[in-house]
């Protein structure tokens, strides 16, 4: 029944990997450098390693992506969480992105049922921390950073 697709992103899908319709896609970020592990944490505002880990995950305002190698921080990237604006399935959209960017660890306060299921599929390690924990402190406490 479909003769042509016509998906050139003309107003109804925002470019490569764009979400259908008017939803903004999650940002593209390069894969983790070799030899490093990638850690993701939802945060309430963007303040580098001083960002507080958010009580929300799927609809957290920002997502912190930290690449760690040999106990040292290699990269810190804090992006706006486009998934927060998903009408439904925000946790799934975020979970998909976490898989796509090659993260192997998630630090959060709690996980909604959907994102929990998605992360389990690839065995992403989940570490739960008390609300208000600062990102840098969590990384140290969990032993990712010396």
């Amino acid at each position: 029944m479909v003769t042509s697709m016509g998906w050139s992103g003309r107003g109804y899908s925002r470019g490569r990997g764009g979400m259908w319709g008017y939803q903004a896609p999650m940002p593209q970020i390069p894969p983790p450098p070799s030899g490093s592990i990638r850690i993701v944490a939802p945060v309430d505002f963007s303040n580098g390693l001083n960002s507080p880990i958010s009580m929300r995950t799927g609809r957290a305002p920002y997502i912190a992506v930290v690449d760690v190698s040999g106990g040292k921080i290699v990269n810190v990237n804090i992006v706006q969480n486009a998934a927060a604006m998903a009408p439904r399935g925000a946790g799934v959209q975020l979970g998909q992105w976490i898989l796509n960017i090659g993260a192997s660890i998630v630090i959060a306060v709690s996980l909604g049922p959907n994102i929990d299921m998605v992360l389990r599929q690839v065995g992403v390690r989940v570490e739960l921390v008390p609300p208000g924990t600062i990102l840098g402190d969590a990384l140290a406490k969990l032993g990712f950073v010396k």
Binding site: Y22, M85, G112
Partner: protein
């Protein structure tokens, strides 16, 4: 940092708004700056229960998306009409017509159109607003257009607006009247909250709903407490609930004319009948909640 307390019930009609409105009133009288949030947008009665709107402080449209057709390209082949699983498209003499009461904006029709004559566009689904109620308590809530339903995103937007206003009003406590049931809007009402108060009435459906709500709260690491409302409608089942629901029961509230009246008058019962038994039961329950929060 503000503390969010969610009042929810696994099934609608249990009196969740009765509890959340009186709780907000109680906290206000005790001197806490409180902000009330109505996440049950399909039945936005929290502000009514708090005396109705005194003044609207802010409002904005809540948008979703719908399809539209570029008739200059349309071949009237009817593929779109055939494809839509929501029966939102029908064929007329002028071509396919969209029924916006039913269009969900998923765009399946756009995908099958051989000439890309269908596109997605934003559409108003309702509005969200912040207002002061006649009891002096600020309320953040929303209003849906006909045929529209509540969603996780809408509840999220309402809560975000509430957080903003909680800073403006210096409100440390936010009372959220959750959407009924256990679906997406409820999860969105719960996430990040400090405490859940489950309102259950003595019927099997209500108990089932309450148990599922507790499961959800446990998964989200939220502490749960329960209140049995309208207990006199079935005192023996009330006892069943106490055993079956693995949650601390804060107390029981009876159902009688005074409750119905206070609802009609749009005033919390703590204001209309402060000396009644119901009011004193409510105060005991609310004091216990404060104790559990160490406030």
């Amino acid at each position: 940092m503000n503390t969010e307390i969610v009042v929810a019930s696994g099934k609608g009609g249990t009196g969740k708004t009765f509890i959340s409105s009186n709780f907000s009133y109680f906290l206000n009288k005790k001197g806490f700056n409180v902000l009330a949030v109505d996440a049950d947008v399909e039945a936005p009665d929290l502000i009514l229960a708090l005396g109705d709107v005194k003044k609207i402080l802010y409002e904005e449209n809540f948008e979703g998306q719908v399809v539209d057709i570029d008739y200059s390209k349309c071949l009237r082949c009817g593929a779109c009409v055939e494809t839509c699983r929501f029966n939102a498209l029908s064929m007329s003499d002028e071509g396919p017509v969209v029924d916006y009461n039913f269009c969900e904006g998923f765009g399946t029709c756009a995908l099958v159109c051989p000439v890309q004559a269908i596109y997605l566009k934003p559409a108003k689904r309702g509005r969200i607003f912040a207002a002061i109620s006649n009891t002096g308590i600020p309320v953040v809530t929303g209003d849906l257009d006909i045929g529209e339903k509540n969603s996780g995103l809408l509840v999220y937007r309402i809560r975000e607006l509430a957080k903003e206003y909680s800073f403006k009003f210096n409100a440390r406590l936010i009372v959220i009247d959750a959407a009924p049931g256990i679906g997406c809007p409820v999860i969105s009402s719960l996430v990040g909250a400090r405490l859940l108060v489950i309102v259950v009435e003595p019927t099997p459906q209500s108990l089932k709903g309450a148990m599922r709500l507790k499961e959800l709260a446990d998964k989200l690491n939220i502490q749960s407490l329960a209140v049995i409302n309208k207990y006199n409608l079935n005192p023996s089942f009330t006892r069943t609930i106490v055993d079956a629901l693995n949650v601390e029961i804060l107390g029981k509230i009876g159902y009688d004319d005074k409750v119905v009246e206070s609802y009609t008058l749009m005033k919390p019962i703590l204001e209309t009948y402060p000396e009644s038994k119901i009011s004193s039961n409510l105060e005991t329950i609310f004091k216990r909640i404060l104790e559990r929060l160490s406030l």
